[in-house]
Symmetry: C2
């Protein structure tokens, strides 16, 4: 997908909502669990009920991978369904891969080509030659872990390296890599106070922001610090939408939760005169 | 597998050789490519011809993942074959996963349970709560990226954090985590001069050392710095063994290459009076 198409979609839907598909089969309704492919059926029901309000979906690969080859067949069905029925939607493989060059290329091909995602989340620890292979594909994007929302982010990401924090070093270094115009960054919503500084380092890059809702991040704060002249944000919600109800009405409750976030986003975008 | 079983096997086979299954279908012989499941058939041929000389196999997950659900079905067949025919062999999922707690647990279950590996390689960037879920399983091991052999390792891993280099910080911090007796570390063979310092930080942990051979690392140097009283090393070779020949004799040439490394390891172990 062209980045301009993602931007157009944001303006059209007045939304920068990404919905995370972290599908825990223990939480899905019995009527879904009884189907032949519950991972797919649950995803389809969520997509059908929320696609009007979301600009991106982010399947969490671990939740498919744990079911072996069958789980990966379900992932392929989800992606085929999304790409066929909602070609305007930006898709993110939340996979957090990272390995040396020839292996990274295999991961890139797996997610960009075999499963036909627009983007994949990538880990920075192994450096340039582990990330650049993901930046080599036309209209495909790597989303690099920068500052995450979990407790353990303090172990390494905020350690001081010279005059910078480690995640700042990661952002600054990676923004010099070949193909960095196809690079986006993961920044946790619980770190809203850091987002302003991150915007100074990368004013134009898209930020993928998980952690709003269940994990405690505030949409208003994130937007205040993170929006740029092109919006430049994808704010993710997973559990708050897909498990808004665990009863038969889960799809309509998911729709309500997605609509609620979209409305909040619309108000923010209008206030900032971005739409 | 109990760690004592791995140690016993090392002494019995007089080898600390790990063979990496990074299977590039463009490099396998036409007779293998013509089969229904070339990823499995190639792995089987390599395993059958080299298992007498190796104590561990390390399938590189990207090379299976790139073929979608079919690739993962092949991986399952490889693991079932290994576990049935060579239960004494230590198995490593070279997956370099890393994500927040509930997602990390899914990855752990995928590789420890669904595919039945003894261990998995893990990335440190997201910190404690992204690694500890992998240390929660009886007789299963996480192998944490510390200092890798690729060029990009210099981007972040050897940055100065306080009085330490970043990979030293990773090793020292992680060795305090819950379950760290089930933690091993990846250290590239091209960094032999750093291994002595690493041994000071973690005298007892197993080190998985890729990069001998094709990537230029020296077995003698690695052994000199890395061996401990329990051996404590797994030295990996991939391309040097599995593509020793790309002709019909690939399996016997792989055997020769594995045997050659085992002999070198035996001489080292004898010289150090470890066997």
């Amino acid at each position: 997908m062209k980045i301009s198409a993602l931007k157009n979609q944001i303006l059209l839907k007045k939304s920068f909502l990404c919905i995370g598909l972290d599908i825990d089969l223990e939480k899905v309704h019995a009527s879904i669990k009884a189907t032949e492919d519950p991972l797919f059926e649950f995803s389809k029901a969520i997509i059908d009920s929320t696609a009007a309000y979301a600009v991106a979906y982010k399947p969490n690969i671990a939740f498919f991978e744990t079911y072996g080859s069958q789980g990966m067949a379900s992932l392929k069905r989800v992606m085929d369904y999304l790409n066929k029925n909602h070609p305007e939607i930006f898709t993110i493989a939340d996979a957090k891969r990272g390995d040396i060059g020839n292996t990274a290329t295999r991961y890139a091909k797996a997610y960009y080509e075999t499963y036909n995602f627009d983007s994949i989340t990538v880990a920075p620890y192994m450096g340039k030659d582990s990330v650049e292979p993901f930046l080599n594909f036309e209209e495909k994007y790597a989303i690099l872990l920068a500052l995450t929302s979990n407790e353990g982010s303090s172990d390494f990401q905020i350690q001081k390296v010279g005059s910078q924090l480690f995640y700042e070093k990661v952002i600054q270094t990676s923004s010099q890599w070949k193909g960095s115009d196809r690079l986006m960054y993961v920044v946790g919503a619980t770190k809203a106070n850091a987002i302003k500084g991150i915007r100074n380092l990368i004013p134009d890059a898209f930020l993928l922001i998980p952690g709003v809702g269940a994990q405690g991040g505030s949409l208003a704060e994130v937007a205040e610090s993170g929006l740029n002249q092109d919006v430049g944000l994808l704010v993710n919600s997973s559990r708050g939408i897909i498990y808004a109800s665990t009863d038969t009405d889960f799809a309509s409750k998911a729709r309500d939760a997605a609509y609620d976030l979209q409305k909040q986003m619309q108000i923010i975008l209008e206030k900032k005169r971005l739409i």
